[in-house]
């Protein structure tokens, strides 16, 4: 069968979401941010909530998320996205409000904001990208960096005595009464992408049911920061990140 006979609009089974803009993403080749943006756009498109969704972008690589998803956005000071999301959701309870934060933003400078927003049980969605490194500033150690992991500021590997232990912020947040759905996902293969997408959809639905905060951690790669190829970074993540950050639902009620 000729390829031109297959490539027709009526045979299309998968393509770019209409919620994604045409702008080329500034992320490095193979970056997990792109995949998460894509499934976020697909969920927003499938739920038909493009004009009812407000995103809060963080500081970090994903600060430019507002250039890629065609929805309303605000951009928060470093770590303060949950505070902005709280105000936005309280003022406009009919909107779907989510924050999109990296591990440096959420688990380091923004620890106070995320803890208290989750403890208050704000009806927002938090998408937390954990790649165990500060990607944008050049690959420095983050709170979530694994023990022994080499970064720009831990050239001999993270040492617990000197640098403390990796922070399992998702486990901490699961303890809080205000959260209704806490899960850890990844996006390195098709099955994982589909599970992550279902989790995001469920979180958006929860935010309209007055159940509390939904928190989705996505264990991600930073192949530039990790000094590996995108495929090798995915493998490294499966071998090293998953044993310490096991995937699955931590809380669902």
């Amino acid at each position: 069968m000729d390829i031109n006979e297959i490539i027709k609009p009526e045979n299309k089974v998968y393509g770019k979401s209409t919620v994604l803009k045409d702008a080329v993403m500034h992320y490095c080749p193979g970056c997990s941010h792109g995949t998460v943006h894509k499934i976020l756009a697909e969920v927003i498109e499938e739920m038909g909530i493009q004009d009812k969704t407000i995103g809060i972008s963080p500081v970090g690589c994903s600060v430019f998320a507002y250039n890629y998803l065609n929805i309303d956005w605000q951009q928060a000071a470093h770590g303060r996205a949950p505070a902005l999301a709280t105000a936005t959701k309280r003022l406009m309870p009919d909107k779907y409000v989510f924050t999109y934060q990296g591990d440096g933003d959420l688990a380091s400078i923004g620890t106070a904001e995320i803890m208290h927003a989750c403890n208050r049980g704000e009806n927002i969605v938090v998408i937390f990208i954990n790649n165990a490194i500060y990607g944008m500033t050049g690959g420095q150690m983050a709170p979530t960096t694994l023990l022994g992991q080499v970064t720009a500021t831990t050239p001999y590997g993270r040492d617990a005595k000197l640098n403390g232990y990796p922070l399992k912020i998702t486990e901490l947040i699961a303890q809080l009464e205000g959260t209704c759905y806490v899960t850890r996902q990844s996006v390195q293969n098709p099955g994982a992408v589909r599970r992550a997408k279902r989790a995001i959809q469920k979180a958006f639905e929860n935010s309209m049911l007055d159940k509390g905060t939904s928190f989705i951690e996505v264990v991600s790669t930073c192949n530039s920061g990790w000094k590996a190829s995108p495929v090798a970074a995915n493998k490294w993540m499966e071998e090293n990140m998953f044993p310490f950050y096991p995937l699955g639902d931590l809380k669902d009620r």
């Binding site: 069968m1 299309k12 770019k16 080329v24 995949t35 995108p230």
Partner: protein, 73 residues
């Protein structure tokens, strides 16, 4: 019933990360020798006859550059 698939790639936006290649169950796709205007070796169908249109490559693509088509014959 047989299923035939095909993909189109937005070669100018493809960054040649290659994340899709190990996720292709039929070994259909590969990175080209040619580069786009940014210097990336973009994705193409090296074995177009083996494509089943499973959408695995497009599902994991971080830049959403792959469109998948499928027909039953």
């Amino acid at each position: 019933m047989a299923i035939k698939g095909a993909i189109t790639v937005d070669t100018e936006k493809c960054k040649g990360c290659g994340v899709c290649i190990p996720n292709c169950p039929t070994g259909t796709i590969a990175l080209s020798k040619e580069v786009n205007s940014k210097g990336y070796n973009y994705l193409y169908m090296a074995n177009p006859e083996s494509c089943t249109g499973c959408t695995n490559c497009a599902t994991v693509c971080p830049d959403a550059v792959i469109t998948v088509y499928r027909v039953k014959i």
